[in-house]
Symmetry: C2
């Protein structure tokens, strides 16, 4: 019979809450320490994005903890992107040629609250709020906390410690600073940052623009997006350079400049954001960073998961999904090696690292695709073909986006490798005039195109594999 | 007329000494602070490799400071690699098909000493030894030092501060910790480490094995190399996994195990290393890490160069050469923007960053090529073709290695991009039986092969460029 180890989790955010829930379901004695107060009873702005895109990888992990239905209840399906041009014209672009594939807008706070409430039903799971991790002593497996209300310091020792304490993880910092082992680490910031704004609900509580889409105002050097909330509002995010180019956050320092910029670039959005100057001044400008590191674990004692191990930029809508998937992958490995934590952690890292690296890269590169979507005719032509292939060959064609977002049984790394080769194949077929793509291709034309794409994709993968013998 | 700013340089290693020399030649008032004692009068083991490979990029920078000839006097030319198999058989493999292309073994201490002695001839250049940088206050442009002899702390403020303080740079740490700007940073460690051993000179002071080669004992999972020294000895380096595989540094903890390992894998080397057990126990096991970061500068106040900005693993023999090239690139930009340090630093980073990243990648991937050299017949076949192409078309064909090592007018990034495409072209031609490569190809056969390689290389580069529109 398995031992009931004492498990300590640092951070009760999305990843930590789901991990705690799952470990409690397995019968472990779980204590979670969260630096902030209980978000269900306190109005806290965590300084992080208010709503997020939940998709199939996330649902798979929620299902494992029996909370998928509860999550679906608070989701708003977004079946595609709605592009806005500078004149306010819009056109829709579905996420997939298959009807049942869409992403969902969900409130970070609502989802986290649901997970915490679920966690409360387990006697062997306790959540301690206002408990800020200061450092972790790796030699003694002891976490040093400070109570945020009383400022009192206290220490907790546990059998196993998980760090789900986000991009600024204190457990990861302890790895970095205590130098008990060679710790590979990278933090990479984009030149762009972000700022959140709000389109409020209409007076009758309805959404002022369609809630069935993720709205995008792509402008090459910058981009505005909006995701719907259940209360009729939209959370709007401006992605803009910190300091470079004609328009940047540094430059936009007066109400006049802000409004002139929005009037020229996003006039339809400006008309719906009444408090833009105020929000611009008060809401922080966030940094966009990717974090990668290795190893994630120290002996069988500690492990970091989620953003703590692999924070990503938001452009693939996969940050939360990747963190939830971490829990599912870890869980499947616990199945095989229950209680042998060092083997569990080693296996987890060897299985998961390439996928975590891949979603970090995919998210960075998707920024260019999102913001250039309108400007680049090649993208549109490619998309036109892919949507038809997915529609007519739903079992045989999956775009890179579909593999990443809707195919939870394909790892991120495989999705990236295959998806990149596919993109390269199609784009070069377009560039070399090897294919004629229209909106109304016949089944025979599409069948031929599919075969050509598949052949070329396989050639590209084969050629890359031969070249890879040069550098492993 | 230019101002004679006060310039402070942290670190009088190879990069700092050359930089100091060059800036003094330009008339600046230069003070260099070095944590260690003067290596010309003190026997210090810096814990770093004793000899290095100097090649064309390094010479170009040394020429700029009028010290190329003095460096050449202390060089030992290595015209190729000499491979040793497990039976002690050897075979040679030149670095290039052109006769005048070779690399040089040089003692780190001798070269550094030469640069310091040269620096001493300038009245406007002062070197302060035993002065350890503790931190740099970025707000006030002040460096906090500790005198290593007296333990006294002292501060120095300067107009411009350069950090040439190596892979563990304190200036870089100040960027990281003081968070005045978004600092992208990565440190990546290989699973392998290294240990230095020695083949002493013969009794008559001569070299026991040929000094005209870089000796390599490639064994796939591990590798031994040896570079000649002027005193007749060789510095031998074992590259081996820290903890993984059958043989690793952790496992080799007794004299018996070490000798059995060497007897099986490197018998001819073992016979020449009399103090192997002692050296194994006393010499530290080094880590192999790559460092990348950005930005390298803060305003017009501070700049990091050399290993401080981009430490690389030693497998391309380019660490020192890249650091020296930094000085040459910076110098050419000072020419254009003299005294406008912020513009100089910004321009320098924009020109140099892609090249620094590239040599970091090239060095990591060359490890696999070096240690697998014997095992993989594709490498040998490729090399066989390339050597003949270089020999017969010296103006028209350059292998990746040649571009990186002998073509100081091609940037590392261009060399990497073109070299990888070329490798991919040749390897795929071999894999697909599109070419028949023998040791005695006719001029006509080689001409045809060259044309084919060039066409295929260009196709690969074009296809990659089309695909790159997807992710910038």
């Amino acid at each position: 019979m398995k031992q009931k180890e004492n498990i300590l989790i640092i951070g009760a955010g999305l990843c930590g809450s789901l991990l705690a829930l799952r470990l409690a379901q397995r019968g472990y004695n779980v204590n979670v320490y969260e630096s902030r107060p209980d978000l269900r009873t306190t109005d806290i702005s965590a300084g992080r994005s208010i709503n997020l895109a939940l998709s199939d990888r996330g649902f798979k992990a929620l299902r494992l903890a029996n909370v998928e239905d509860k999550a679906r209840e608070i989701c708003i399906p977004m079946k595609g992107r709605l592009m806005h041009d500078t004149k306010g014209n819009t056109f829709a672009s579905n996420y997939s040629g298959r009807d049942n594939e869409y992403i969902n807008s969900i409130s970070r706070g609502d989802l986290n609250g649901m997970l915490l409430t679920e966690a409360d039903t387990y006697d062997n799971l306790t959540i301690h709020f206002n408990s800020e991790c200061e450092t972790v002593d790796l030699d003694t497996n002891t976490v040093h906390f400070k109570n945020r209300n009383t400022n009192e310091a206290f220490n907790v020792t546990a059998d196993v410690i998980f760090g789900t304490d986000g991009a600024g993880s204190e457990l990861r910092k302890s790895y970095f600073l205590q130098r008990k082992f060679l710790f590979s680490f990278s933090q990479n910031f984009l030149t762009h940052g972000y700022k959140e704004l709000e389109i409020p609900a209409a007076k009758d509580g309805s959404h002022q623009i369609s809630k069935d889409y993720l709205h995008i105002w792509p402008r090459g050097e910058y981009m505005l997006i909006a995701l719907p909330n259940l209360d009729g509002s939209f959370t709007v995010t401006l992605f803009l350079s910190h300091e470079e180019g004609t328009y940047n956050f540094k430059y936009l320092d007066t109400e006049d400049k802000i409004k002139a910029f929005f009037q020229a670039q996003f006039p339809d959005a400006l008309a719906l954001i009444p408090n833009i100057a105020e929000e611009f001044a008060n809401n922080p400008t966030g940094a966009l960073g990717t974090i990668k590191c290795s190893p994630w674990y120290y002996k069988g004692n500690t492990l970091i998961l989620g953003d703590a191990a692999h924070a990503v930029v938001p452009f693939y809508g996969q940050g939360m999904n990747a963190s939830f998937e971490d829990v599912a992958v870890l869980d499947s490995i616990i199945d095989k090696h229950e209680d042998d934590w060092e083997t569990i952690f080693k296996t987890y890292q060897s299985v998961r690292k390439a996928d975590a690296d891949a979603i970090g890269e995919l998210a960075e590169e998707n920024y260019y695709e999102m913001r250039d979507h309108v400007a680049n005719p090649m993208f549109k032509t490619k998309r036109l073909l892919e949507m038809q292939l997915e529609k007519h060959f739903p079992e045989h064609y999956f775009s890179k986006y579909s593999m990443v977002t809707f195919n939870e049984n394909i790892g991120y790394h495989e999705a990236m490798t295959k998806g990149r080769a596919q993109d390269k194949a199609i784009l070069n077929m377009i560039a070399d005039n090897e294919i004629s793509i229209t909106a109304d291709m016949t089944y025979e034309q599409l069948e031929k195109a599919l075969q050509k794409v598949q052949e070329k994709t396989n050639d590209i993968i084969d050629d890359d594999n031969v070249a890879k013998t040069m550098h492993h």
